[in-house]
């Protein structure tokens, strides 16, 4: 009995000590919820690169991959919030409602939702990247480099993000080359290398000599390499997959933002906000320019990049007309963020209809 008392006294002392230490130097733990596998070399892969940057900055991180945008997401979020995570990043549009719902139940946990617009509770922030700025650069390059004046575009799903990209790309290409035609093929997948390659092949067989993509795998740039046409990398630098075809890539760079936000939690300075960063803030990165591009084009692209970064140039500067010729943005004006966020009409010059 005596022994038992001593033992329990000692162990409770140890316990008390651990608890005190834990309370004083509480590590901030960040969690990430992914829609796809980290091995997709696309959207989720780039978020995971960002997570690794958080880890490198000295924070503990967890991730759950392949989480469906359904009630499953709520369950995963609740479990992450319950298991001591201080900040949770939900990295797909469809997590919008689950994120807000679970955030209400855990007011002390910070939630960061990517690409959404609902911030119903003070502990929910949203963030997204202005990828369309990158597509303005790609359009400029495509319009200059094409000889057939047919540009192929492999699209994924008809959502504002993709439509905005097509519009921004086409507007920029038309600006440098009014004769170009943008042919769009919907693959209805974010990544299926076989299907993406087939879509790209169809566009190339129909005379496209520059291929842009809004799907994730490297199959399209590889197909372009085989066929001897130009292409652009998506989400990460794809140059090594197709050194001759890839002129440049638009990279998603989430790391700096993630580190920033996790540090803010650690310092107690985190607050709700809506972030939409572009080239200027380094969330959208343009990879190195291929040497096949003439030097005056390279100089032009570098200048455009700087102007987009400084805000001197906006991807959607009027006058912009839709396909029917209705004015969307007046001369000298630029499209506001509300219009960009809900963009579901093609601008003049894009062929075909948006699938409904």
């Amino acid at each position: 009995m005596h022994k038992f008392l001593i033992r329990s006294f000692v162990s409770s002392l140890v316990l008390l000590f651990t608890l005190t230490v834990a309370a004083v130097a509480k590590d901030v733990k960040a969690a990430f919820v992914y829609i796809g596998p980290t091995g997709d070399h696309g959207w989720t892969y780039q978020h995971d690169v960002g997570r690794k940057a958080v880890e490198a900055a000295g924070f503990k991180t967890t991730y759950v991959e392949g989480v469906p945008e359904s009630a499953d997401a709520e369950r995963v979020l609740r479990q992450l919030a319950n298991s001591g995570h201080d900040i949770i990043f939900t990295t797909s549009f469809g997590y919008m409602n689950p994120t807000n719902k679970v955030a209400k139940e855990f007011p002390n946990v910070k939630f960061e939702h990517a690409t959404g617009y609902k911030r119903e509770h003070p502990n929910v922030a949203t963030y997204a990247a202005r990828f369309y700025e990158g597509r303005t650069i790609l359009g400029t390059i495509a319009g200059t480099m094409t000889k057939s004046n047919v540009i192929g575009y492999v699209a994924s799903f008809p959502i504002p993000e993709v439509i905005r990209g097509i519009n921004s790309f086409t507007l920029a290409a038309q600006k440098v080359n009014p004769n170009i035609k943008t042919k769009i093929v919907w693959a209805f997948t974010w990544y299926d290398p076989g299907k993406e390659a087939e879509a790209a092949k169809a566009l190339i067989d129909q005379g496209a000599d520059v291929i842009a993509q809004h799907t994730d795998s490297t199959a399209i740039v590889q197909m372009a390499e085989k066929a001897g046409v130009y292409a652009f990398g998506q989400a990460s630098d794809m140059d090594k997959f197709a050194p001759k075809a890839v002129l440049t890539s638009v990279e998603n760079n989430w790391g700096p933002y993630y580190v920033d936000r996790v540090k803010a939690v650690a310092n107690g300075t985190w607050s709700q906000k809506d972030t939409w960063h572009g080239i200027g803030d380094g969330m959208v990165v343009i990879s190195g320019l291929d040497s096949q591009m003439p030097s005056d084009l390279q100089a032009k692209v570098k200048k455009l990049q700087a102007d987009l970064a400084s805000g001197k140039v906006h991807s959607f500067t009027g006058p912009i007309y839709d396909q029917k010729g209705n004015l969307m943005v007046a001369e000298g004006k630029t499209a506001d963020d509300g219009m960009l966020a809900g963009m579901m009409t093609y601008v003049k010059g894009v062929e075909g209809d948006i699938p409904k």
Binding site: G39, H41, I184, V185, F188, T189, P193, G194, D205, G352
Partner: protein, 310 residues
């Protein structure tokens, strides 16, 4: 649009290239099913083949080792299935589904270190002849060895099943394992062999995707092609030549719908993307509507476990 014969040839060549993995996997599964075993693990075996081929190519640098390694990987994973269903007499359907889930999971695990690495160029044959004959040149020349093998396979398979003694034994085992066993045939051995052969072909189909068709590794890159291959076997009523037709229609419509989109045909895109599935099923059902022939070629003991063996 000007219809150029070489343009038609190019389209047919891309249709054939997209049909290759379906033909390989279906013909492999056909032999397995003809022996009376239903293996739903095609997708799993394909993805294992895809990662094994890609990983071996990256690590060893040898394409030959990679291709045969992928087939061996298919054999190894199908051995698990064979052991469970033939030796431990588990349910075919449940074991096959488990095999697919296992394959997808383990390929993702092995594949972690191979994401973002470009593949190697796979050599093609007869490239010098590519511009000799209009229309036919792009179809006949300039493809990988696996491509030619895939288009020979349905005919080889058909001959094997109809004209060779071993082919007849396989069919006997699939139709009536009891009678075959009474004739002194080792049913379990034959079924083991057919399962492993199916695994090898699925492994090769996966390697074609990750090494030749789209040389890269990403998770889930087979994208459901294993399930389509399985469906082709059933809808072709276990006939290898009809598998070839079905795979060509499926691949063809997938590619032609992209062309229709690019030309700007005003048909809802969702309908176009569903077209390959609908038309392939309709065509195969129509060409296989002779019920007597279906009865003849359907393995009667498909999916049933056989206990009575030695």
């Amino acid at each position: 649009m000007i219809v150029d014969v070489n343009f038609v040839g190019l389209i047919i060549a891309s249709i054939m290239a997209s049909a290759v993995p379906l033909i390989l996997a279906s013909c492999g599964e056909l032999i397995t099913e003809r022996s009376g075993v239903l293996n739903l693990g095609v997708e799993g075996m394909m993805i294992i083949g895809a990662i094994s081929g890609f990983a071996l190519m990256t690590v060893t640098g040898s394409l030959i080792i990679a291709v045969f390694g992928a087939m061996l990987a298919g054999v190894l994973i199908s051995t698990i299935f064979a052991f469970l269903t033939q030796t431990l007499i588990t349910n075919h359907v449940a074991t096959g589904l488990a095999l697919t889930i296992f394959g997808i999971g383990i390929s993702a695990m092995i594949g972690k270190n191979f994401v973002g690495i470009p593949g190697k160029e796979f050599p093609v044959l007869f490239e010098g002849l590519k511009d000799t004959i209009p229309l036919l040149s792009p179809i006949l020349f300039g493809h990988s060895i696996v491509f030619y093998f895939a288009f020979a396979l349905p005919f080889i398979t058909s001959y094997f099943l109809k004209k060779t003694k071993i082919g007849l034994i396989v069919r006997a085992v699939g139709d009536s394992p009891e009678s075959a066993s009474n004739q002194g045939i080792n049913v379990r051995f034959v079924r083991y062999a057919c399962i492993l052969y199916g695994g090898a072909m699925c492994g090769l189909a996966g390697a074609y995707l990750s090494m030749i068709y789209t040389p890269q590794w990403i998770e889930n890159m087979t994208g459901g092609r294993g399930w389509i291959a399985l469906a082709l076997v059933v809808f072709s009523t276990w006939n290898p030549i009809k598998i070839l037709i079905g795979a060509m229609i499926f691949g063809g419509l997938t590619i032609i719908q992209f062309h229709m989109q690019a030309i700007g045909v005003r048909i809802p895109v969702q309908f176009l993307t569903a077209l390959p599935y609908i038309v392939t099923i309709i065509v195969l059902v129509v060409i296989s509507r002779d019920s007597r022939k279906i009865r003849l070629s359907t393995p009667s003991s498909l999916g049933k476990s056989f206990h009575k063996d030695n």
